[in-house]
């Protein structure tokens, strides 16, 4: 028998109030990354002997640029969520944990943004 109050059942949240969202985002990005990673790795391997011009031409295609942006978006959100769990599991000091969680978020946002901007620049430069 459920020990939850009717309001608690209606809200559908556990004691931490937000774990389900983290879980879903981690899975959603994981599912999106399966085809995106396969596409990216096989594209790279197929062009491993290509020139600078050929690499630029690749990212001037709308489909390739769009898929690359999706890969970067899903990848860095997935990374942020995954590393967050590692930090929460293994770092017990509150201040160290908080500092590392902030650093993780900023790292993923910054590197992901830089990569995405480079793709946009490549696409619009043609």
């Amino acid at each position: 028998m459920s020990q939850k109050t009717p309001l608690g059942r209606a809200r559908g949240l556990g004691s931490a109030h937000s774990g389900a969202k983290h879980f879903w985002r981690q899975r959603l990005t994981a599912i999106a990354l399966v085809p995106l990673v396969i596409w990216f790795v096989t594209s790279l391997v197929a062009r491993s002997t290509g020139t600078y011009e050929e690499a630029r031409a690749f990212f001037s295609q709308p489909l390739a640029a769009a898929l690359m942006l999706m890969l970067i978006g899903a990848g860095f959100v997935h990374l942020k969520l995954g590393v967050q769990v590692i930090i929460e599991d293994y770092i017990h000091g509150e201040s160290t944990k908080l500092a590392l969680l902030i650093l993780n978020t900023l790292y993923c946002a910054a590197v992901g943004l830089l990569a995405a901007l480079a793709v946009l620049q490549l696409f619009f430069a043609g």
Binding site: L44, I72, I86, V111, A118, L122
Partner: protein, 147 residues
Amino acid sequence: MSKTEAGGASAARPARERPLSPHLQIYRWTIPMALSITHRATGAALGVGGLLLAWWLISLSRGPGAYQLVMHVLGAWYGRVVLAGFTWAIVYHLLNGIRHLFWDVGYGYAVPTARGSGWFVLIASVILTAALWAVGLGLVTFGGVHP
């Protein structure tokens, strides 16, 4: 017992270490456990690899000079060792991630199944990594992939 006495007693109680559940070093290593730890390790490593991806994309957008530098580093023996490591990490994390997604929908929990899928992921990740490099280095060509 009055309120003040109770408060005084709790304040005087010496702080002591609370017991913790045993950590990694206490358990016998099993395939599912080793793969679970490797999943996290490869995930964190790929996070560092994200920096390499960003550097490569930025250099490509900067021009031939910047791009040649990155490709020179990646083409050197140390660059290739790092790239091979990232290739295995991404293949492993992909395959083991799919294994995790099956668990998420309730399949593959039986111990022999979990062990079997673990061995499969481990062996397949090595074979796939080798296959990708064989194609990438031009050892194997599929009609028209490599000019």
